[in-house]
Every structure is written in structure tokens, then in C-alpha cells.
Amino acid sequence: MKTPKRSDEPIWWALFSAGGVCFAVLLPALMLVLGILWPLGLVSPPWLSYAGVSALLHTAYGVPALLVTAAVICLPLFHAAHRIHHGLHDLQCGYRQASKLLCYGLALLLSLLALALVLAI
């Protein structure tokens, strides 16, 4: 019996799992507060102002802000990319390598963009 080549899937699966946890735990609350309650004027916490947010971004050299961005944007992006990649496989569209490059590539690009924007502020 020949030994099959080791899959690189553990990397993507780990990012997918971590992203799934962040997605499930953090995003519903964030969406409720930032997407619904705040725009409707039902809550208006003082830190949700330009000065407040910018102060938060610069706390402790911006490290917490980067961590939050990773948890709220980057990891969920990889989670979504993994789902789309496997969804394409299920629908039998796209070649394995091409859809992989496209999905995870896009997640990486958008993640770097998000982190760069946080750093740039």
C-alpha cells in the first residue's frame, strides 16, 4: 500500500475552526450593536465616536486593535473562504487548486488590507 501525500488541509481547517468560533461568539453581538441598535439610536455608547474609537485603536501600541481585527475580520474571512472552497468542490465547479488559490488568496488579501488599515490610522 503506497503512502498518500500528506494533505495541507490541517492549516486551512485550523483557520476555519478558529474563524468559526470567532464568527459564532463575536459577530452576532457586534452585528446587533453596531449594525442595528446603534444606527437605530437605541444605544449610543460614548466610545462610539471618532475620538473614542481612535483612542481604543491606539491603546497599548495598537496590539489589542490588531487582535480584535484578526478575530472579527481575518479569521472569519478564512472560515468563509474554506466553506466557499468546499462548496465549489461539492458543486463540482472549479479545479481544486484554482478555487483554493482564489478563496484563500482573497481571504489573505482582505485580511492584510484590514490589518493595514488598522495600522494606518
Binding site: 500500500m1 498518500p4 500528506r6 494533505s7 490541517p10 468542490h89 461539492d90
Partner: protein
């Protein structure tokens, strides 16, 4: 006695170009299983109908068929639970040899690929004792009857027949978790590939159709965790 309508997929590769559906009427009561119905058909109406069976009590795992599109053991599925015409077809994702008989060779090859036996290079004659806690680790996964229903249910095996599949991965876990075994390293090489544990996308239909409630999907997910650990450990090996 009630009359039941069956529509059975018939196919004889030596004579037919394509499979065809044939209607039959059988009478049965509330105890009549799909297998009983098929056997009475074969004995009383149509001796050319080919099917596989042996124990009639959900042990041998040979009577798997698709009933209304869902993989089922014929002997554990009862006509009373169905209304209207009942569709019976050979197990999906396998090549048909004749009528309801499929070629299980690829399935058996996958099972043997993961070395489904105790591997222990310690050459002592003493009995290998096991505590109830050690037994509990793998016992759930040791009840597989090799019926192949999970392969007929698994869309990934349908897309890629090279995928080791639910039963084989469950069996690998069954031996990897056994305290008397130390063959995990050689099984991991099969599980680590794209056609090993990573061929699964956690659809979960294997666990839904398993007639022994083994939960193969859970075993496959455990195998993924093991394979991910193995991946990380391997990074630090030179």
C-alpha cells in the same frame, strides 16, 4: 394482510443497456420487512431477481439497498413505515453487478488500507488487559457491520471513490484508540492524505443512516483532530 406496491430497479449488465424499473405487488402485514418482501417476490413471482442477504437480523450487513433513495438495511426496514409505491434500488455510489447486488470491492479495499487489526510489536505472550475506561474509548466505534450504507449516503465518496470513507476512517479510529494497539503511526499516513480524513466535509449523512448508530461522522472529526496534531508534530521533526 395489506397489498404493497414496490418499484424495483432491475439491471443485468449482460443483457440490459440501462437499468429499468419493474413494478411488483406483494402482500404483507405490519411485521413484513423490505427483505421479507423481496424474498417472497423472488420465491413466488420472479426468481430472476438478484439480491444479497444472510442473517435477516441486522448483523451481517449484506442486505443494504436504497429505499426511496435512502440507504437502509432491508431486514431492518419495514413496509408499514411507507406509503404509496416504495422504490427499491441498489446501494448508491457502487457499481451494480446485477439488480440489487453491488460490487463492494472498492469498499473492502478501503477497509483493508487502514490495517483494521491490532498491531502490537511487543512480543510478549501475556494477555493484554484493558480497563473499562480503556474499552469505553473505542467501543462505540467497534460495532460496525460493514454494510456500506454510509458510503451510499456519503456525497464525498460519490464524488471521489478514492476517498477512504466513513466506515474505514471509523475503523482506523477504533484501532487507534485501542490501548492494546500501537499501529497508529502507520494508519495515520492513510488518514493524513487528501483522500483520508480530509476528504470529509462533515455532511454527516453517514451518521444519519448508520444502522448501528456508530456515529462515523464523529469518528472522522476525531481523525481530523488527530491528523492536525500529527501535522504539527511533523513540522518539528527533521
Amino acid at each position: 394482510m395489506t397489498e404493497y406496491q414496490l418499484r424495483i430497479q432491475r439491471y443485468d449488465p449482460e443483457q440490459d443497456d440501462t437499468p429499468r424499473l419493474q413494478r411488483y405487488t406483494v402482500s404483507g402485514d405490519h411485521t413484513t420487512s423490505v427483505l421479507d418482501a423481496l424474498l417472497s417476490l423472488q420465491q413466488q413471482q420472479d426468481p430472476t431477481l438478484a439480491l444479497r442477504w444472510s442473517c435477516r437480523m441486522a448483523i451481517c450487513g449484506s442486505c443494504g439497498v436504497m429505499v426511496n433513495g435512502i440507504p437502509k438495511l432491508g431486514c431492518k426496514t419495514f413496509l408499514r413505515d411507507y406509503n404509496g409505491v416504495i422504490d427499491i434500488a441498489p446501494l448508491a455510489h457502487f457499481a451494480v453487478e446485477k439488480d440489487l447486488i453491488v460490487d463492494m470491492t472498492p469498499f473492502l479495499a478501503h477497509l483493508s488500507a487502514i490495517q483494521p487489526y491490532l498491531i502490537n510489536d511487543k512480543d510478549d505472550k501475556a494477555p493484554h488487559k484493558q480497563t473499562p475506561a480503556q474499552l469505553a474509548k473505542y467501543q462505540q466505534f467497534s460495532n460496525c457491520i460493514n454494510c456500506g450504507l454510509c458510503y451510499a449516503a456519503c456525497p464525498q465518496f460519490g464524488l471521489n471513490p478514492e476517498f477512504l470513507g466513513p466506515a474505514a476512517i471509523t475503523l482506523a479510529q477504533r484501532y487507534n484508540l485501542d490501548s492494546r494497539d500501537n499501529g497508529k503511526a502507520s494508519r495515520m499516513s492513510q488518514l493524513n492524505g487528501n483522500n483520508g480524513a480530509w476528504g470529509c466535509t462533515f455532511v454527516g449523512s453517514c451518521s444519519e443512516v448508520c444502522p448501528k448508530q456508530l456515529d462515523p461522522a464523529a469518528a472522522v472529526n476525531q481523525a481530523k483532530v488527530e491528523s492536525a496534531k500529527d501535522f504539527i508534530i511533523n513540522l518539528f521533526k527533521i
